[in-house]
Structure formats: structure tokens, C-alpha cells
Symmetry: C2
Subunit: 395 residues, 2 copies
Amino acid sequence: MELISSQMNGYMDKASWIRKMFEEGIKLKKEFGEENVHDFSLGNPDLPPPATVKKALAELADQADQPFFLGYMPNFGYPAVRERLAEEVSKEQGVSIPADSLVITCGAAGALNSVFRAVLNPGDEVLTPAPFFVEYGFYAENHGATLKPVPSKPLTFELDLEGIDAAITDKTRVIIINSPNNPSGAIYSREELDGLAAILNKHNAKRERPIYILADEPYRFLAFDGAEVPSLLDVYTYSIVCSSFSKNLSLAGERVGYACVNPAIEGKEKLMGAIIMANRILGFVNAPALAQKLLGKALGSSVDVSIYDRRRKAMAEVLDNAGYKYTMPKGAFYFFPEAPGGDDIKFCATLQEEKILAVPGTGFGSPGYFRLAFCVGEDVILRAKDAFKRAMDKA
Amino acid sequence: MELISSQMNGYMDKASWIRKMFEEGIKLKKEFGEENVHDFSLGNPDLPPPATVKKALAELADQADQPFFLGYMPNFGYPAVRERLAEEVSKEQGVSIPADSLVITCGAAGALNSVFRAVLNPGDEVLTPAPFFVEYGFYAENHGATLKPVPSKPLTFELDLEGIDAAITDKTRVIIINSPNNPSGAIYSREELDGLAAILNKHNAKRERPIYILADEPYRFLAFDGAEVPSLLDVYTYSIVCSSFSKNLSLAGERVGYACVNPAIEGKEKLMGAIIMANRILGFVNAPALAQKLLGKALGSSVDVSIYDRRRKAMAEVLDNAGYKYTMPKGAFYFFPEAPGGDDIKFCATLQEEKILAVPGTGFGSPGYFRLAFCVGEDVILRAKDAFKRAMDKA
């Protein structure tokens, strides 16, 4: 009997080689011991949540015998937390954001899906610069749309504005960008974003349905050497920012984030209403009550970013020592070097022989590269030094 | 400019009269004081979470400075919590459920959407007996399917098996049932479920794609007078149970529940894999970490069900006194009486003149009735006595 949908059947066939890799990793760790495997495959932050989270949780425990303590609330979240969030987001974006431009969501993934549900018609197209987070494709297809990746410039991963312009059709509804970028570590400059906005404004002038820029920004807090992460909100009117607290508060499994609609959009109440409704009908209903209450107390705090910067420098030394070619990441916690020999899947297998776990660039729509996550202890990075060298020598 | 999708445009127009009613309620409370308005419109449990929740939260606070404490986990949830959940669900269902038949979800709404995403093709049909929870329609349409309600028997709200049989087409993929039922308080008997299973088995014999029964069971714990809530799992092979802890642990805003696939389904691993993947790609990723950790410690406890039973009896007296016609609810915390005069929208307006807030049956696909939620203090029920009488006299 046909137990699952046709589309899901296709997904599960496609996904199986990534799963196989993951399972190989588990096997390696079992065989050689966790401490002898160099695992750079996962973007799961290893820093503990900041002290504010522990303190907030203890305070919340005291109130947990009150009626409605964890009951339903407005679908957009607790009004007081939303007000507090509006202050923080205003600071981060350098643009004044009123609370009613925000909906608190189940992580950035929940925010992206709610926005897609609110604005996409079946048949619409979503553009994204490659490399990109592979789940974007599923998110678009959840709502009957398709993802069209546009390759970025080789090695620097700057936006290819001409390529984006050429890829836009009447069906283009959203361009999703992720800066600082997973997996490349690139940060799009103000010039690149201005250029992108000019292209979209040109297209919008001929359309009834504007093209949105959806900015997925969970790594905004993680920009190195004082790099600027420009806000889309004062660059382009039809912009929506999504983010989460997975990285800056190490709350990835707790599922809390937000969508922020540009207050400059004329008639934005309708768009907000649709996103809030989408958040409800997709089954999120509202972001988790405890996570929101935590935010109310812990917003503004963060894990220690300098730790990530030290690791970045350590990883750069390890890669330099072995002769890898890469662009130094400006933000986020990933390196995206060229795969020696050109075949990323083959090279990741070579790395695996040296007990290094990495993800092929093919998994991000950019074959020829591979991703290393440095949200792991500095010791893990340092002790992988010789293994990286050996893998390079084999390639 | 067209800011939102065509479908969402339609939803927001349709939804506006319910919102209007809700806003009227807020206005009433402002004008006459909260204590002078009798609000039976919301299914938001007013009982505080059981003491186990407070204790568990205090214990969790102690661990919140550990790395990965709230980090990513397998998409199906924490393995240890899933094991613990399997024990509880086995007890509740009277069927032995292995842990790998379960995925922990963001509430029942998250479970229903993940199952729909996993099994529905665009164009499929989902049947449900009316009255039904209005969100089911949105959930089906999220995945390109449509909801076809089949009226239940008048006033008793037993399943109309002939009606269901007649409504089945080649496109029928799921029948979603909710027992104990919101809004009718009906519990489907073993005979009704056996009859339903026989009909579906007859249809399945001629199909490659089985028809699933999706049992939405957040009120299973709330059956009065020792009423049996039969398990679908030993009645029908292609059954999936979804539930949440919104009601029994008063955690509605915290968003935690599960989907349980019948272990008797041949090849169920594929179905489970698809539901787990759907849970991930819809953007839930996993159920909230804190909620899962709470469950690990609080599973098996419950709010005091006898309080709901006392309220049920108090509400029955109030309705009897005024002469309303209804079937005594066997479970859940709702009455669904006939609307005197037959027009439920008009009668709810009459109730509102008496400062009683209720929801018209039209909102549940059953015009001619109205819903009263009794998850409110007994005092609220008792002091509405004269107002219910006056409304009846006016009708």
C-alpha cells in the first residue's frame, strides 16, 4: 500500500545519502571513540545558554502553579514580550520597529514558513543566492512554490546581481537571503543590498505583486572584526526579517524566533494579519510559552562571541597549514573552503577516512566546496590539524 | 500592491465575523467589568498545571547552564522522553506502543499538520464528522487538500456511518475524528468505530492508497461517569493517534503533543520517517526542548478531572432550569445545545445581550447549535443562571 504522499516519497529517496553520511559518522565514533573523531558537520551551538537563561527559568518555576501560566495567548505571542522584543530589534536593525510589526514564532524556520504561507501562491518562485540552507527548498515546496538558486561569485560568495536580475520572472515572489551566511560566512555589503533593491524596484514598477526580500538573520549577532551587517529595512521597502535565538542564546531546540515586517510597507496590517494567521493555521498556534517568558527576561544577553572568534582564527590556521583555499568568514560559525580536486562529495569521503566529518557543498547547492562548522571546542579544531593535512595530501 | 496570497485573502475575509464577535466580547468586558460578563467562548483551561510541572521546572532550571541543554535533538524528540511517552500511551490506548511509533510534536496541531504533510497529495479529500474543530479545514488546505464535513446524527452527534460511506470517493485519504469531541462532548462507541472500520476496509480492498483514520484525542483523559474511550489502534490498522498535553497538564500555550502511528501498519517505518521529516520541514524542527523535558518528569500526572465534572453538572442544572435542549457531554469540557429558534448566530447575539459569550455552531460546521466551554470557575457558571433563562425567554 502507498503509505505516504508522492512528494514525500521523492524527498525520502533524495535525502538518503545525507542520512547515510550521518550514520557513517555515528559508526566512526562508535569504532574509534568520540574524542578521536573530528566532527565539524553540525551547526548545533556547544556554548551553554548565558546565565540570564538559568536565572529566568528559576524565576519562572516559581510561578508555574498559576492558572493560565502556560495557557493560550494571542497568536502573535505575549504582548509584553513583543514590546520588549520590539526594543531589541529596533536596536539591532537601527530602524524603529513598533511591536505590531512583529510576530513571535517557533524559531526562524517557523517564521519563514509562516511568511511563505502568507504570501506565496501555488506556482510562485522563490530565489536564493547559492550556497543556501537546503531546507529553503522544502519550505518553498510546502506552499506549492519552487526554489530557484542563483550561484554567487566563486569563493567570495558575493551576490551575483546580474544573475539574480536574469533569474527573475513574473512568478518570482520572494528572494530569501541569509547574511551572515550559512555555510559561506559571507556578509552582504550595503552596496550589494542597494544593488539588489534597485533591481527589485525596477521589476516591482511593472507588477501588482511586489517581490519580497526575506532576510533570514539568526547569525546577525555573530559578525567578526567589527563587520557591519546592514539592515534591509531601510534599504528596501518590501522586506521582512526573520530570526531566532538558537545561536545567540544557545536555544536551538527550544524553538523561538520572530518575523518582523518592514513598518514602511503601505498596508502592512494586512500582511501582518496574514502572517499571524499562517502561524496559527500551520499548527504552530503560537511560539512556546516558556521560551517567550524566557525571552522576556533574557533578551539583550548573548553567549560570549569572542569564543567563536578565537575558534575561527584557530580553524584558519589549521586550514592555512594544510594549504586549503577559502575566504575568511566575516560572520556565522562556518568555513566553506574549496574541495581540493573539485569533487566535494569525494573529498568529504577522503576527510572521513581521516575521521573528519564535514558536509559537501552539494548539500548547499554549491558543489566544489565543503562546510566546516566551528561551533565545537578549540581543542577539537587543534587536534584535527594533522588530519586536515593528510586529507589534502591525498586529494 | 497585492501583499498576501489569494487563498489567505479569502481566509481573512471569512474569518472576520468570528473576530468581530471576539472583539464585541472585549468591548462588553470593558463596559460592564470582567466579572459581569459570562464568558463561555474559549477552550483555554483555567486549571493551573499540576504540581509536577512546577517541581520539574525548578529541577530543569538547575541544569540550564549546561552546553546543549536546550540545543538541537533528533527531530522526533529526546529519545528518553519518547521511551517514557511510549509507556504512557501504551497504558492509555491499551495497546503496546514501541517508542519508534511516536514522534513528539508542537502540540496536536503540529502533529495533525505533520501527518497531513506526510500522506496527502494535492487534490486529496479529508472527511470529518460535523461538528468539528474549524481549523481542520485550514490544516487540509495547507497541504492542497480539501475538508469534506459529514453531518453527525442530530443532537446526539453519533457518527452517521451511511453518510460517511456515501461521502467517500477515490480522493478520500484521511478521516479525522475527535473523541471526546469538541464541541459536542460526544464519545464515539466501540460499535460506531467498528462500523467505521468495516466501511474503510471495504474501500481499501479496492485501493492502492489506504484511507487513514486520524484520531485527534486531546480530551481522552476527560471522560465522565467512567465512560470508555475506545482505542482506534486495535479497531483499525491504518490509524494514527494525535494528542497534546494542552488540557491534561494545562500546557496549551507551551505547544507539546505527539503523533502515534499504529504499530500494526505494514511498512510503518516509511510512514514514521515521512511524519518525522514533515515535522522538520514544516518548520517545527522538533517540539520545544523545555516542554519535552517537562514531560519527561510530569508524564502520568494530570489536572483534577473531578473539578471539570462538578462544573459539567452545574452547567447542566443551569441549562435545565432555563429549558435548553442538549445531550449531556460524555467527555471534554463543552456543551453543544440546540439554539432556541434555530438560528445559532442570531441566538448567540441574544445571549450576548445577556452578557453571555458563546460560539455559534456554524463555526463548527453545525448550524442550529451553540457551544459553551465549561473550563471556567463554577461561580461563573452559577451566576449566569438567570441570564440563560432570560435569553431563552427572548428566543
